[in-house]
Amino acid sequence: MLKFIGRRAAFAAMTILIVSAVVFMIFSFLPFDPASLTCGQRCTDQIVEANRVRLGFDKPIYEQYWLFLSGIFAGRTYGAGSAAFTCPAPSFGYSFNENACVTDMIREALPITISLAIGALIMWLIVGIGLGIIAAKFKNRWPDTSSSVFVLLATSLPTFVTGLALLIWVTIKWKLVPLSLSGYTSLIDNPFKFMQYFILPWITLAIAYAAIYTRFTRAALLETLGEDYIRTARAKGVGERVVFFKHTLRAVLAPLITLAGLDFAGLIGGAIITETIFNLPGLGRLTLRSVYEFDLAVVLATTILAAVVVIVMNLIVDMLYAVLDPRVRIV
């Protein structure tokens, strides 16, 4: 097991290195001068050149990449003398648009995105698997039919429609959830406010994903119910409830976990639409803003972060799979 994790970690580190190199290269090919982007409205050539030197854009590309990499481990100081400023390790660069270290910006945005993703994940797993179980148990009867109506609606409605609808009806018309103006509060500081802040974004995301999970769970359960080993269980005299909730559900668990892990990883990369609708200053919005503003340091950092999350989640899913499915052995 340890050997497996070690090897996979080395593999992950290499993948991340390649991803960062590729992203870095793409940015160096972009047809504009990164130094002039850092310059404000009243721009002179002197400022541009000074910034170029401060941010290291005057150096060759491989040296810039090296500075970027070493910054992650050792921190990085821009400029010299009294004008120098330092982004401590791990430094992913400096955003001139925001006048802040990228690491600090991510540090602010990440908890919001993680809270959003985890809450939505829990919600859609409960609703999706629950509905899937009900649909499979009552196949072709009204609970199944109504769940398939939900699936159809939820998969056809884009999140910006459900999100806006929730915002309009629940918050503005019915005033069930107050419009949060105070911003993000952490779960530990004030659980109630935290819930209020996230409940609608959670529901928005959960509706979309729950539909997929309902369909997946139903299909997987029905397929498993036709397996020979389910017939064996019945032949032993095992009751129908145990056959369903022990033998059948157990077999569906492993693929469900895989799906959930990968979807979760995708969300950490940024639920851009949901974050935008509900004005959540998370990673998705950070990425979106940086793309609009050509804030290359931030785009680079969030891209690499998204890659890291996907790789790490894959690793976790693989390990969980080995725990859940005895046929999968980790070597």
Binding site: E227, D228, Y229, R231, T232, A233, R234, A235, K236, G237, V238, G239, E240, H247, R250, A251, L324, D325, P326, R327
Partner: protein, 344 residues
């Protein structure tokens, strides 16, 4: 001889979009303690449907079942067809157990062998976990699995096909059932392993004084282990009798066709003598004998009834009966000659 199972006039049909499929159409048979009764027939002849009916494993609402399946629950007879779900569940695995065709897919891949075995015992003996595990080890040992205590902690994928079928047999024996239904128990196995499994079944039959209902399409298997044989075609029994009668003096043209189609090594470069044509669709069976379209002996039928009436199950002796319009005497002569030709 103690009778364990008596199926009388069993009809099983399934509703499909194309119409009613009459999978089993008036089957009657008996099974006694200590004997092996085979049901032989090709795919779709209704042999598995018959056996699943005995286990009550057809889904309510999907299958329409009539007739009676009288089954001995350690002495008291119960009619499976008319039992409630709970009553059938109580019988399953305890009075009657079943082993299936494909041992590779018949064991749950996520549970340890020991706990899968123990579960079968626990279902009928609630709360007796220790006994269940001890029983599981005992049965694993009995079916010839070395180091049962160690193997019980392993998962199905760590067993070979033959070993898995042994596990299936051990599982079936957990509650010492009187009736064992073996649905093609050796079809998915290597020939060498087949022989071992068959020998094991015969040994256990004696030890437990069980009756075994053996479902197979393999005449070699039948010859090895069966005492009596029922040949099924298109949902009906076309011939029944002691194993020697079936093999040496078959009376139904279909049985003869089956015997003739057994490949032989003695003759070189000879084409297999397959029965021409296909089994009929069970949705709209012809009015006459269902085998008539494929039958080579139609012209010998004096009444020419092959295409108009279904032959009844008749026989001169009380044990050997068959369905055919051709006079029995004539069949005796014709079939004996043919068999001789084929078997050399």
């Amino acid at each position: 001889m103690t009778e364990l199972l008596r199926i009388e006039d069993l009809h099983v049909s399934f509703k499909t979009d194309d119409g009613m499929v009459r999978a089993v159409d008036g089957v009657s048979l008996t099974l006694n303690a200590g004997e092996t009764v085979a049901i032989v027939g090709e795919s779709g002849s209704g042999k598995t449907v018959t056996s699943l009916s005995v286990m009550g494993l057809h889904k309510k609402g999907q299958a329409e079942i009539s007739g009676s399946i009288s089954l001995s629950d350690h002495g008291t007879f119960k009619d499976v067809v008319h039992l409630s779900d709970d009553e059938i569940r109580d019988i399953r695995g305890r009075a009657v157990a079943m082993i299936f065709q494909d041992p590779m897919s018949s064991l749950h891949p996520y549970y340890k062998i020991g706990s899968q075995l123990a579960e079968g015992y626990l279902v009928h003996n609630r709360g007796k976990k220790k006994e269940a595990m001890a029983r599981a080890l005992e049965m694993l040992d009995l079916v010839g699995i070395p180091e049962p205590a160690k193997r019980a902690q392993e998962f199905p994928h760590q067993f070979s096909g033959g070993m898995r079928q042994r596990v299936m047999i051990a599982m079936a024996l957990m509650n010492s059932p009187q009736i064992l239904i073996a649905d093609e128990p050796t079809t998915a196995l290597d020939v060498t392993v087949q022989a071992q499994i068959l020998a094991l079944l015969s040994k256990l039959k004696k030890e437990f004084n069980m009756g075994i209902l053996l479902i197979t399409h393999d005449l070699g298997v039948v010859a090895q282990v069966a005492d009596r044989v029922n040949v099924m075609y298109a949902g009906r029994i076309v011939e029944e009798g002691p194993v020697d009668d079936i093999f040496y003096s078959p009376l139904a043209p279909y049985t003869l066709g089956l015997l003739k189609s057994v490949p032989r090594v003695s003759k070189n470069n000879e084409r297999l003598k397959a029965i021409p044509g296909q089994p009929p669709s069970l949705i709209n069976l012809p009015v006459g004998c269902p085998f008539a379209p494929r039958c080579e002996y139609k012209q010998h039928s004096s009444e020419a009834g092959c295409n108009t009436t279904r032959p009844a199950l008749l026989g001169t002796s009380s044990t050997h009966r068959s369905r055919c319009h051709v006079p029995e005497k004539l069949r005796h002569e014709l079939f004996a000659k043919e068999l001789k030709e084929v078997q050399g």
